[in-house]
């Protein structure tokens, strides 16, 4: 058998291998792929997220339904077990007598077990999740509308993660690299809104241009794509020159627990920066210098104020990724601040949005 791919005779085999290598390179290097390859890839990726998100929602709904069914079965089985055990016990205590019979009605009247009590709520929650998944999966336009109505679309992608996470936005296009730098270095608290934004955008555009021209064209993509989680928090208008994010801030915020938590997840920069910033609770652009420090702005203020200022971001983030909001329901403001410092905003937060 011939070994090692060089043919039976060493020298000639080597020459032949070189000949093949040269021939392959000469033939293949004549081929030039069409220049719109990146754009096509973007289009394909853009057309997929709807399916991916739909799949995710279907999966979540299906899993919740299966879990509720399993919970039901487990509870029934447990109830039957307890009932059998009780019957067995009574059978042992009074063998051969019929005194157990009068006890039966008393057992039937005893209050229901708490496990049985949560059965229906569990079903309801499962069904609600399933229904929400179906609705959101069936109507991606609703998601985009929600995102745009919140002002999510006005912001170009903001720093999602640390270094290089710029996301040269296959989908989102524009701004990414610059945002990465801003996320890393973190604009000085003292800097004003416009200047920092301008610098980051300038860098972004520069990078984007050089890396891939097509990126710019994709900048018109739906807002959800930009999704960058941080969006919300930096909200504060750092990312968006228009400052629309700030506008949305004050009005709606009810400051629920969910809100604060979401902020935590989305925000990248550490808490310490925010504390230094010490801004005013109002999220207007005037206070932006402090807010530039990041989403943490909210944390620097008093609890109440913080929760309020955070609320806008909340709304944005909730629209971006429903799963996050669901998970966040249990946390309170303090804990969120702590997590903010420890937990870097990972790309995952951006991915779902990118998926949408």
């Amino acid at each position: 058998m011939v070994r090692s791919g060089h043919g039976s005779d060493g020298a000639q085999g080597h020459e032949f291998a070189e000949f093949v290598r040269r021939s392959l390179h000469a033939a293949a290097d004549q081929l030039e792929p069409s220049p719109d390859g990146l754009q096509r890839i973007r289009d394909k990726i853009r057309s997929r997220p709807a399916h991916a998100t739909a799949r995710r929602f279907w999966l979540a709904g299906g899993v919740s339904a299966v879990f509720s069914i399993l919970a039901d079965l487990a509870l029934r089985w447990y109830a039957a077990l307890v009932r059998g055990w009780h019957a067995l016990r009574h059978g042992h205590t009074a063998p051969g007598t019929h005194r157990a019979k009068p006890d039966r009605p008393r057992q039937a009247q005893r209050p229901r077990d708490w496990r049985e009590a949560i059965l229906r709520p569990a079903f309801a929650v499962g069904f609600a999740l399933f229904a929400v998944g179906i609705v959101l999966a069936a109507m991606p336009s609703v998601r985009s509308q929600i995102a745009t109505s919140i002002g999510f679309g006005t912001q170009s992608s903001t720093p999602s993660t640390g270094p290089g996470n710029s996301g040269a936005g296959v989908l989102g296009g524009g701004t990414q690299p610059g945002t990465a730098s801003s996320g890393d270095t973190g604009p000085a608290p003292g800097t004003t809104c416009p200047s920092s934004t301008a610098s980051s955008q300038a860098a972004a555009s520069q990078n984007v241009k050089k890396s891939s021209p097509a990126v710019q064209s994709s900048s018109s993509t739906p807002p959800a794509v930009h999704s960058a989680p941080a969006v919300s928090s930096s909200t504060t208008g750092t990312a968006s020159p228009s400052g629309t994010a700030t506008v949305t801030v004050s009005p709606t915020v009810t400051g629920t627990k969910t809100v604060t938590k979401t902020v935590t997840q989305t925000s990248t920069p550490p808490v310490t920066e925010t504390k230094q910033a010490a801004p005013t609770p109002t999220g207007s652009c005037t206070s932006s210098p402090a807010q530039h420090a990041g989403p943490a702005v909210s944390s620097s203020t008093s609890k109440a104020a913080a929760s309020k200022s955070a609320s806008p971001s909340k709304s944005a983030s909730t629209s971006a990724s429903p799963s996050q909001t669901a998970s966040s329901s249990s946390a309170d403001t303090n804990s969120t601040n702590q997590t903010q410092g420890s937990e870097p905003a990972d790309s995952e937060s951006s991915s779902p949005a990118a998926g949408s």
Binding site: H6, F16, H25, A28, L38, A168, Q176, P177, N207, S212
Partner: protein
């Protein structure tokens, strides 16, 4: 990695740096050693596209023998890589993933093409196919023509070895076979290729 010598036009971005140093040239299948962690999926797609798209398309063209299909294959591989980025998280892994995806999808294309050809009613001889023009360039080479006659696995092994300049381990990973099988396929393919060229 060496800094580019462009003075004023010094690139400030990793992509520009890599491109400036020639990392995107044909045959540069090994990802340059740069900090690549922390990329997100979109950024990774853009970067890897600028570095490896052309080479991957050529590799796929050698496997599927037509450029538009090769581009489709590579684009689909990039889309799959984008979806799987959460799992990959690194350019090295992503490149290996891309290579494997290209090889697998090329194999699927060939399989599909075989089935289609089997059930296809033959077209009139004077009616060139759509990919005819793109294939002409490849067909000019005798080696490429001989390569067409090889079994798929042998062709893949030879292309990955002598065009992509991959090691046996990398070829094994891309083809999803063992290193011994890679050696075997390569050796048999080269023997068959030589005999085919000698016959001509």
């Amino acid at each position: 990695m060496s800094e580019p010598q462009h003075g004023d036009a010094r690139p400030t971005h990793v992509t520009e740096t890599l491109v400036a140093t020639g990392a995107g040239m044909p045959g540069a299948f090994v990802a340059p050693t740069t900090a690549r962690l922390g990329w997100n999926a979109d950024f990774a797609v853009t970067e890897l596209y600028s570095l490896h798209y052309r080479t991957l398309v050529r590799l796929a063209a050698l496997l599927v023998r037509d450029t538009p299909t090769a581009e489709e294959v590579v684009q689909d591989a990039f889309v799959a890589m984008h979806d799987a980025w959460q799992r990959l998280r690194d350019a090295e892994n992503a490149l290996a993933y891309l290579r494997q995806a290209v090889v697998n999808r090329s194999r699927s294309v060939l399989r599909h093409r075989t089935v289609v050809d089997r059930n296809l009613v033959k077209a009139p001889p004077d009616m060139p196919s759509a990919e005819h023009g793109a294939m002409i360039q490849l067909e000019r080479s005798a080696v490429i023509a001989a390569l067409r006659g090889l079994p798929v696995r042998q062709r893949e092994a030879i292309v990955l070895r002598y065009y992509a300049d991959l090691s046996e381990a990398e070829i094994a990973a891309a083809m999803g076979i063992s290193r011994g099988a890679v050696k075997s396929h390569t050796a048999r393919g080269m023997t068959a290729l030589r005999s085919a060229l000698e016959r001509e």
